[in-house]
Every structure is written in C-alpha cells, then in structure tokens.
Symmetry: C2
Subunit: 128 residues, 2 copies
DNA sequence: CAGGATCCGTACTGATACTG
DNA sequence: CAGTATCAGTACGGATCCTG
C-alpha cells in the first residue's frame, strides 16, 4: 500500500499532498485542542477561550477560520444585540475527531515506553 | 471516553500530556516523512537525504535524534573507514507508522471534501 | 461578545563552512 | 560519509488596541 508516496515528491508538488496538509494542520498546535473541545458539542468563542486557557484571541480566531475553511466546523452567528457565535463540528470534523482520538489512545498507550526510551537515551548521551 | 481531558489542563501541566507530545512531534514537519520513508526498511543518512529532497542536513540530524530519543528508531553505526550509519524503525516506531498510515488514508479520502469546502469558503469570503 | 489590525520578540529553519 | 557549529532570515505566536 503506497498511497503516501506522493509525500516525497519534489518540493513544488509537496503542497499538493493531502497528507502534508493534514500534518501541517496538526502542527498548528491549537487545531487539535479545538477539535477535541468541540467533541462535546457546539461551543461559543468565549467558552472555547475559557476551555483552552493559554490560547490568545488571535490564535483562536485564526485556527477557527482555518478549520471552518477546510469544512471541519460550522460557524453560526446569532444576530443578537451583542453578537453571539458558536462553532460545531461538521461530519467531516467528526471523522477527523475520530482520527485524533485514535492518535490520542496510541499516545497514551505508548507514553510509558516513550518516557522510558527517553530516560535511557538521556542517561546514555547526557553525561559526557 | 475521556482519556484526553488532560489536554486542557493548565499550561504547566500541558507538557505532561502524552497527546500533546505526539502532536508536537507531528508538527515537526519532518518526522512524519522520515518515519514513512523508513517504512520500507533500514536506510542510511545520505539515502534519507536523497529521498526527502528538501530537508537540510541540520533538520534531518535533529529529527533523527528526536526520534531516536523517543525510541521510535534505532541508529546503527558501522565502524568502517568512512563511517556508515543506518536507521530503522523500532517496534514502537512501526506502531507509530501504523497511526501515520491511518492518518494518511483519512487525509487522502477526505482531500476532495476539504478542497471543495475550501473553494466554497474562498468564493464566499474572498470577494469583498 | 466576537474578532480585526498592528507591533514586536522568539523560535524555528536553512545555508554555509568545518570536523572525524 | 555523517555529522557539528555558527549565522542570518523568516514566520509564528502573543500582547495590546480598536471596531461593530
């Protein structure tokens, strides 16, 4: 199964690679948190900000825009006096959430192994 | 299933979260490429460099070190006249590869949907 | 309340030159 | 061949101020 061979194309083609796009998304440092937060259901801007304490307004806005652009979440605006907005996952967003959860489970399961390897590596290479 | 609630802990605790660690890894921009390249078997430093054209020696070295430290790959040195080194996935690395492949498949499957959403979003918001 | 605009420091990255 | 060291550019992320 060589579906990701496109990963190693020339630099010019790299941007075309769907896998790169997804990976770049995950690298966004916040998108994953947002998607996981929205797994509980729709959420308002300020609520998201409270749930993810150390994200700035700027980054939250930007990340939400990217996710909306890619069709991973809906943005609903209620034209009330002080405007209210909430975000919820689209079906595509939910399927992405599934991937994230699989990754999260792998991460938790592998964490002890990784920590052990890290400790051993540091012990071997740390003291010169 | 709330195994990743630790994601939204206070900033200080954030570093403890295994999911964050994995995600940060993926954000490394190169680690995924390297792991996927090594899925074919052991590979030498220069071969990796050839397979991933637009990676600098510096980043390749750094990424390899991180992966080695986390126990995702072995580094073998052959003490020949011009030193030879090759890298191969550990069992942990292989299991990580599995996650990556699942993600790759999702990415490819979802790519058309994402592209469509993106086009629609740009059409709606692009022209002011 | 939601978010756009701007400024600015830091951290990541690449290119180059050097070593064993 | 397989790195290490140094330097410089960029782009990311945060803080602050401003708008509808």
């Amino acid at each position: 199964m060589e579906r990701w061979t496109a990963l190693n194309q020339s630099p010019a083609d790299r941007r075309q690679c769907p896998v790169r796009e997804v990976l770049d998304h995950l690298g966004d440092k916040w998108t994953a948190l947002i998607v996981l937060t929205l797994s509980h259901g729709a959420c308002r801007f300020s609520a998201l900000q409270r749930t993810i304490p150390d994200i700035s307004k700027r980054m939250l806005t930007q990340s939400l825009r990217n996710l909306e652009r890619d069709g991973l979440l809906f943005r609903r605006v209620y034209p009330t006096k002080p405007p209210a907005v909430d975000y919820r996952l689209t079906p595509l967003g939910e399927s992405f959430l599934g991937q994230l959860q699989a990754l999260a489970i792998w991460a938790e399961d592998s964490h002890p192994t990784i920590r052990a390897a890290r400790a051993q590596f540091d012990a071997a290479n740390g003291e010169v």
